[in-house]
Amino acid sequence: MSRTITIDHVARVEGHGGITVVLDGDRVERVEFAIFEGIRLFEGLLRGRDVLEVPGIVSRICAICSHNHAITAVEALERALGVDPTPQTMLLRDLAFQGAAIESHALHAFVLALPDFVNHESVITLAGTHPEVVRLALNLKKLGNTIQEVTGGRAVHPVNYVVGGFGRLPSQEDLVRLRDLLERGIEDCQRAIEFLSGVPLPEFPREDLEFAALVPRDAFFFFGRTIRHSDGTAMPVEDYRRFTAERTVPHSHAKHSRWQGRPFMVGAQARLALNGDRIGGLARDAWERLRFDPRCGNVLANSIAQVIEIVFSVQRALAIVTRLLQEGVVPEPPVPFERKAGAGVAATEVPRGTLYHAYELDASGRVVAADVITPTAQNLAHAEGRMRTVVEGSVGLLDDATLKHRLEMVARAYDPCISCSVHVVRTGRT
């Protein structure tokens, strides 16, 4: 007999999606993570816009990762125009990315996911029993936002990232203020780790998970030009279409990705599984203190991976700020450029995983084609697979309410940014 279990609207995630499970007796017929987020057609709307207008528009794809979108877009446009950013620009963009990781991970790990780990329904109720933990989380989130305000001019939807560099460079005062906040951030991280070391990871089916992440370029953990899969395959980011192999899916406004027909996971857990050897210092201490194992096979560990990345990012941001204070910020204007026809691809590791931006410009520097593939879109097929495993393992054993809660926890584990995932549509000739 066929029956359907539905979660109309997943809570504590960014954006709108639901989960549907169709059972025939004990057999799982279908598990769908249905995305019904409003479609906004970003890449279509960009056609005809001037290159300088692009970052301000694409940042509006998402408020949590707005800086990541703007910077990745700028990098792709720079490739299209043949512009080489200076080392200082790259360092400041790296600083922005550390700020974004701190802010986004603090939001997700503590405000959205942690309540499940300690049997709370929201950060609001959590604040009632653990006010100091919520205070820590808010401090870290604020730290991440303050870094992004300095690099980008505003926490949500930056104004300061332009092709070739920055509208305005940080001042000495800005950097001194950041250094002080970061030093306090280190202490907040340590307190957060102490608390989390006593919180058990919710038990979920352990499977062989497949991951993908950029190969870090030099000292930059979140920047690279090669995408790598845990099966060993690596290719230039320009081949991103072949790697992600996106297809539309009838039950979802967002597309699905598969490598060689198999879903893969991107995000913090993937990065630490593939590039964890680059994690040292306090972040490595946190890794050990939390007994983190990126290959444990449980996707719920993604939130723990995010906390380790917060520590990494606070450390890295402090190192960048210290260096800029020592060497002084060179008052260089953006690298000038000529508008010309061209195409460029850039990929970065943003909080939720690998982000691709690709643009084609005409001779007057207007967008002819645009393509953006977000980490959440890449994760959706993988999330459905894990949900299916949960259902298959629970049929007949759990009541519906508990099963639904567990399915939502799987959805939340990926830290889905659903607004990001749906605008994904390709236009033009890229």
């Binding site: 809570a11 504590r12 995630v13 960014e14 954006g15 709108h16 019904f36 987020e37 409003g38 479609i39 906004r40 057609l41 970003f42 890449e43 279509g44 709307l45 056609r47 005809g48 001037d50 207008e53 301000g56 528009i57 509006r60 998402c62 408020a63 949590i64 707005s66 939001l107 405000v111 959205l112 329904e121 929201s122 950060v123 609001i124 109720t125 604040a127 919520v134 205070r135 808010l138 401090n139 989130k141 604020k142 001019g153 505003r154 926490a155 949500v156 939807h157 104004v159 300061n160 332009v162 509208g167 539309t248 009838p250 406004h253 809660h405 939502e408 607004s419 549509v425 390709r426 236009t427």
Partner: protein
């Protein structure tokens, strides 16, 4: 009894919900002053049908489902506040695009366009009565906190009536429009952002929506004289608030 508050998002980027959560210093006090009973983004236990004193809604109306959701919110709340430029004006998703909406959807989805719940994006006021509006993309933290304080006191929030130029002048920024012939929208955009963009050396892109009595014709004239073509000017004017900025087509 504390006011019952609901926080909702339609089609958007979550900007205003993030700005709310970004009020890190005030958040716990704010949450203590009200009873947040329906906030799907932040809580897994929500009263989705009970009456509300205040509904904060961000995002534009982009499909039939969202229109239904918005009407249901309107029916259960005393006060409905449009938060952010998508809710107030339609926002980026409603921008003047390269093609009419149906053609754009067909370009992007081909034959599948018909099977998605998809419609041109509209501000909340196109569907329901809105009691108060906090513009911005995203809304400003300070403006939001002042607005909430006013609303909790039973007063409508104050709105800015000056253009961004006013704040730009106060900061003693050089004028991008007049001096550099850049298509800065400050002259026709509502202030409240402290002229952040020109302060960073980049033009205002109009994300806070039109200032009242905006002299759009004068703005167009200045830029046409500097060599800008009408098509580009219209797209820039109508990036964040297309549904409420009157379109002028001069022959082309």
């Amino acid at each position: 009894m504390k006011p019952r508050v609901g926080i909702f998002g339609l089609s958007g980027c979550w900007g205003e919900q993030i700005v709310l959560l970004n009020c890190e210093d005030e958040l716990l006090d704010l949450l203590g002053a009200v009873d947040v009973v329906d906030f799907l983004g932040g809580s897994s236990r929500n009263d989705t049908t009970g009456p509300l004193d205040l509904a904060l809604v961000e995002g534009s109306v982009g499909n039939a489902r969202e229109e239904k959701v918005l009407r249901a919110i309107r029916d259960r709340t005393r006060v409905l506040v449009a938060c952010g430029s998508c809710a107030c004006f339609g926002g980026v998703a409603a921008q003047e695009g390269p093609l009419p909406f149906d053609d754009l959807a067909a370009l992007v989805y081909g034959e599948m366009a018909g099977q998605y719940d998809l419609a041109p994006h509209r501000p909340l006021s196109a569907v329901v009565q809105v009691n108060a509006a906090i513009p911005g993309c995203p809304m400003e933290k300070k403006e939001f906190l002042r607005a909430i304080a006013s609303l909790l006191n039973g007063d409508p929030p104050l709105t800015e009536t000056t253009p961004v130029c006013h704040e730009c002048r106060m900061r003693e920024n050089g004028c991008l429009l007049i001096r550099q012939g850049i298509a800065c929208l400050g002259a026709v955009t509502q202030s409240g952002c402290e002229a952040r963009c020109p302060g960073h050396g980049v033009p205002c892109i109009g994300c806070r929506g039109p200032v009242e009595e905006a002299n759009v014709e004068s703005w167009r004239t200045i830029l046409r004289d500097k060599g800008w073509n009408d098509h580009d000017l219209e797209r820039r004017l109508r990036t964040f608030a297309a549904p409420v900025v009157k379109l002028e087509r001069r022959g082309t």
